[in-house]
């Protein structure tokens, strides 16, 4: 994906989120009209502060919202021309969208291998064994862990969650903070993996990240959201050179990185709202 | 005309519904029949049937509810636990209570017997008490033992759940058995609910009991006999009045052959004069007149008619009130309700002694190829000892 894509509209969008509104528990309005597009074979990233609604957006796409008493009350989500708004999650998985949930939601009372096999639940081909080995090649640590996955360290669980998504071989992966809790070395590796999966298998990705730097470099297009709204979007270059982005997400950009020690005020947030 | 409020507590569901349903039906049919045929001296009986599922607290709650609203002048009741729980309440409220519990504890109206737990002035039931019935059975058993020419002391065992009903005659009967020359073994507990009882049967078999008293109701006895037959128990079973009937004979099939049990009424269709009235009563809930009513049904009818007769007497003696009905009951001597001759056993109640009868009919049954017969083997006259009052 080396070349930057100038406009998200340049390629056919596989996934279109059209002005959706999401309500939890029938009362808590969280998303107020989010629209975004993910073109075929690209990596699109979604950034934003805590509580902005990034995870909610992903769950609205994958249908998992339903399992948390949430609902898309307006707008719609289309995947490959098909309306998938409020469809049950397992149906959406079978259509080819796989979400890696935030906070490493692995199945704790199963082994690593069993978790991986479950990742491939919707597949019926023979390649499962081979793919398990592939995951182990990427994350050799996992291979040595034979006990219950619940005893893995945080980072190991994160590896497993990513590995499980690789097993699914979906058309599209929604990644919710994949680099969370990983060591710097592994963060780099995970982004390498993300790019290589994207490139080699042509899997489209929607990536939610806090590591804006990494995410922006990996993506072709990005959105920034705050309090349930998209406040900024643009392709990689645009975002990387945006002054606000530099200040709040990218640590000053070209300038000397300022030390965490010297930040004296908390309330310097810029809000686009 | 004024109505006569009567409460009817029945066990139509729950662990004793197997016998509770026919008995309750007998009472209801009898009451409806009475109302259809002139009532009690022209007064209609107004009765409410409440299913309390053999749950004593529920019976007490129902009683309290009745006393707060309909204020019955008499009650047709059911189980031992609930009737014994209500003894003091009804005495206080002066409500005659005819139960289907034949617990010996209910037979002492004054409490003069040392064995009495509590005086039960307002309690009545029709038939021999459980204690007397069991005494009659062991009496019969001893005769049987001798008739068969066996040597030594026969062994007797009481079997039943840990529940007031099976427990009621436990000690009284064991004492009499001992007196008659039985060796009394440790009682065996088995559940009132039908359940596999092979373990208990193995104990029974090992104990070598010659005579085993079954204190539960028919449903649980069927299971017990099935289990015991499988295990190969050789015992003469002696069943209580609620423990064996047409239904259990059919259900247990060959496994139940030879059970000796207490019967408180002639079987349906016997050649006795009262059968005609009985058939008419039965038609109250079965217009075809085809159903064959089990023994429990017939006893329910008798229990109701004794009450009706007492009400009539009370009416003449100044009004149908609890105390008057009691007085009337206490004056019955070898009484048989009109029209039910040969169906209801002549019964006598006095102000001092509520043992209506101490005569015990012992029957046996035989099942073969889908048919069965019931045969009377003996009528045991149990002594009416003063110290057995209330025990």
């Amino acid at each position: 994906m080396g070349e930057a894509v100038p406009q998200s509209a340049a390629k056919e969008a596989v996934l279109t989120v059209n002005n959706i509104e999401v309500v939890y528990d029938e009362v808590i309005l969280v998303l107020r009209g989010i629209s975004l597009e993910v073109p075929q074979g690209e990596i699109v990233t979604l950034l934003g502060p805590n509580g902005a609604g990034k995870s909610t957006t992903l769950k609205a796409i994958s249908g998992l919202l339903k399992t948390e008493d949430g609902k898309v009350t307006r707008g719609n989500v289309t995947f490959m021309g098909e309306n998938i708004t409020n469809r049950p999650p397992e149906e959406i998985v079978r259509k080819g969208i796989f979400q890696v949930m935030e906070g490493r939601r692995i199945i704790e009372d199963m082994t690593v291998v069993e978790n991986l096999r479950l990742g491939a639940y919707t597949r019926r081909d023979r390649g499962i064994r081979k793919d398990i080995d592939m995951v182990f090649d990427y994350f050799p640590r996992l291979k040595e862990r034979t006990g219950m996955a619940g005893y893995l360290s945080g980072g190991e669980q994160q590896m497993l969650a990513i590995g499980r998504a690789m097993m699914a071989r979906p058309k599209m992966i929604l990644l919710d903070e994949p680099s969370m809790g990983l060591s710097p070395l592994l963060v780099k590796e995970v982004f390498n993996i993300i790019r290589s999966i994207n490139r080699e298998q042509g899997i489209t990705m929607l990536l939610v990240e806090q590591n804006a730097n990494m995410a922006l470099h990996a993506c072709s297009y990005g959105y920034v959201m705050e309090s349930g709204k998209i406040v900024l979007d643009g392709n990689r270059e645009e975002l990387l050179s945006n002054e606000d982005m530099k200040e709040f997400y990218l640590a000053g950009g070209d300038k000397e990185r300022k030390s965490f020690k010297n930040i004296k005020s908390y309330k310097r947030r810029k809000r686009w709202l | 005309a004024d109505k006569i409020p009567v409460g009817h507590l029945a066990a139509l569901t729950g662990p004793t519904s197997d016998v509770g349903v026919p008995y309750g039906q007998g009472i209801a049919d009898a009451l409806n029949y009475i109302n259809k045929n002139g009532g009690v001296n022209g007064k209609q009986i107004e009765f409410e049937t409440v299913d309390y599922a053999y749950n004593a607290p529920r019976a007490v709650a129902t009683y309290k509810k009745w006393m707060a609203s309909m204020k019955p002048v008499a009650i047709q009741g059911w189980g031992t636990a609930d009737t014994e729980a209500l003894v003091q309440f009804i005495a206080q409220d002066q409500v005659p209570y005819i139960s289907a519990s034949y617990s010996g504890h209910l037979t002492d109206p004054t409490g003069k017997s040392p064995k009495t737990k509590a005086p039960a002035p307002y309690n009545y039931f029709y038939g021999p008490s459980y204690s007397d019935a069991c005494r009659g059975l062991v009496q019969w058993a001893m005769e049987d033992w001798k008739a068969k020419g066996k040597e030594g002391k026969p062994k007797f065992v009481h079997m039943g759940d840990n529940h007031p009903y099976p427990n009621a005659p436990k000690e009284a009967c064991a004492a009499y058995a001992e007196e008659l020359g039985f060796e009394v073994l440790n009682p065996i507990v088995y559940s009132l609910k039908p359940a596999d009882a092979k373990a208990q049967c193995l104990s029974l078999k090992e104990s070598g009991a010659n005579y085993a008293y079954l204190g539960n109701t028919s449903g649980s006895n069927i299971s017990l006999l099935n289990s015991c037959t499988t295990v190969g128990v050789q015992t003469q079973y002696l069943s209580n009045i609620w423990g064996w009937d047409e239904n259990s004979i059919n259900a247990a099939k060959e496994a139940g052959n030879g059970v000796a049990w207490v019967v408180g009424a002639p079987p349906w269709g016997s050649a006795v004069p009262g059968m005609k009235t009985l058939a008419a009563i039965s038609r109250m809930s079965d217009s075809s007149g085809k159903s064959e009513r089990p023994l429990h049904y017939i006893r329910g009818v008798c229990a109701t008619f004794f009450m009706k007769d007492a009400m009539e007497m009370a009416d003449k003696a100044g009004g149908i009130t609890g105390p008057n009905i009691k007085k009337a009951m206490d004056q019955m001597k070898d009484h048989v309700p009109a029209g039910l001759e040969g169906v209801c056993t002549p019964s006598t109640w006095t102000a001092e002694d509520h043992r209506g009868t101490t005569e015990v009919s012992v029957y046996t049954s035989d099942y073969k190829d889908g048919k069965f017969t019931m045969t009377k083997m003996a009528t045991e006259d149990v002594p009416r000892r003063a110290e057995w009052l209330g025990w």
């Binding site: 080396g2 939890y24 808590i28 950034l47 934003g48 502060p49 805590n50 509580g51 902005a52 995870s55 935030e102 906070g103 490493r104 640590r141 862990r145 006990g147 005893y151 893995l152 360290s153 945080g154 980072g155 190991e156 669980q157 994160q158 590896m159 903070e177 969370m180 809790g181 990983l182 060591s183 710097p184 070395l185 592994l186 963060v187 780099k188 590796e189 982004f191 390498n192 790019r195 806090q210 590591n211 804006a212 730097n213 990494m214 470099h217 709040f248 997400y249 990218l250 640590a251 990185r257 030390s259 965490f260 020690k261 930040i263 004296k264 908390y266 947030r269 | -």
Partner: protein
């Protein structure tokens, strides 16, 4: 033997689960008033180390001294009374309680009312006591800027906010030693800056000694006084932040500087910043 400046002394601690050696003969010391960071690759045993200090795990070998007192066999709830508080890597809030109640639980060992006088609320001193502590808790809430979610049910918060509430809860314990397990995971730059500020204030103004596990090297370098590196359960380095950064082993095993560069224009260090 106890050095008045030393708050926590861990000596020769080993811990294994079946065949997995989570910790092997680890020895270190945390001095009063410092910010001490533990870094290391995923699965190195960092969390396990905190678990040994807070009492969740019992090391098979070695001893742990807190304020000169042996705490190795002590129950976790008693250690908290001594002055050890912590946050968790995989969120461990009381999901169905409000944020406020979550933090109030932190006051548990400081409160005196109980099941005998608590129910008599108005008649006993319970009400006064509760309100007094409530004021302290409000201070913490103000300090961590979570006033707006005070009454929210913790389980419905976004990941980042939950981390902050966890910190508030740990602070409410008024510990002398606070153990933070990846406090900045799942936060963007701006939020990390805030978090760093909070930690510095806790350390400098509230006088808490901090032990922190963190993968963001920028944060670690900037705010910690000393750093310890674990790898495969063994301590491989300890020292001032700058020394650690220069350690070859650390560079290789943890930061991954020798691995293939990601396809971005930025050098690796700045990416994680």
């Amino acid at each position: 033997m106890s050095d008045p400046t030393s708050l926590l002394q861990v000596s020769g601690v080993s811990l294994s689960f079946g065949g997995v050696h989570a910790l092997t003969d680890v020895t270190f010391e945390v001095r009063k008033g410092e910010v001490f960071s533990i870094i290391g690759p995923n699965g190195a045993g960092k969390t396990s180390m905190l678990n040994c200090v807070s009492g969740r795990y019992q090391p098979q070998k070695g001893s742990i001294l807190f304020k000169g007192q042996e705490i190795t066999g002590m129950r976790p709830n008693d250690r908290c009374t001594l002055g050890i508080g912590r946050t968790f890597q995989n969120l461990a809030l009381f999901a169905h309680m409000t944020v406020l109640d979550n933090i109030m639980v932190g006051r548990h060992h400081l409160l005196k009312n109980n099941f005998l006088n608590g129910p008599l609320y108005w008649l006993s001193r319970a009400q006064k006591e509760e309100l007094r502590h409530r004021r302290d808790v409000e201070d913490i809430i103000d300090f961590l800027e979570i006033a707006h979610i005070r009454k929210s049910v913790a389980g419905t918060l976004s990941y980042g906010l939950r981390k902050r509430v966890e910190l508030a809860r740990a602070v409410a314990l008024r510990p002398e030693l606070i153990l933070l397990d990846e406090p900045m995971a799942g936060m963007n730059l701006e939020e990390k800056e805030d978090m760093a500020r909070y930690i510095i204030d806790l350390n400098e103004e509230w006088g808490m000694t901090v032990v922190m596990i963190e993968h963001d090297m920028g944060v670690v370098m900037d705010i910690s006084h000393r750093v310890m590196v674990l790898d495969f359960g063994k301590k491989i380095a300890e020292g001032l932040p700058d020394q650690i950064m220069d350690n070859d082993h650390v560079k290789k095993a943890y930061l991954g500087e020798d691995t293939e560069e990601p396809e971005t224009s930025q050098p690796a260090e700045e990416e994680v910043a």
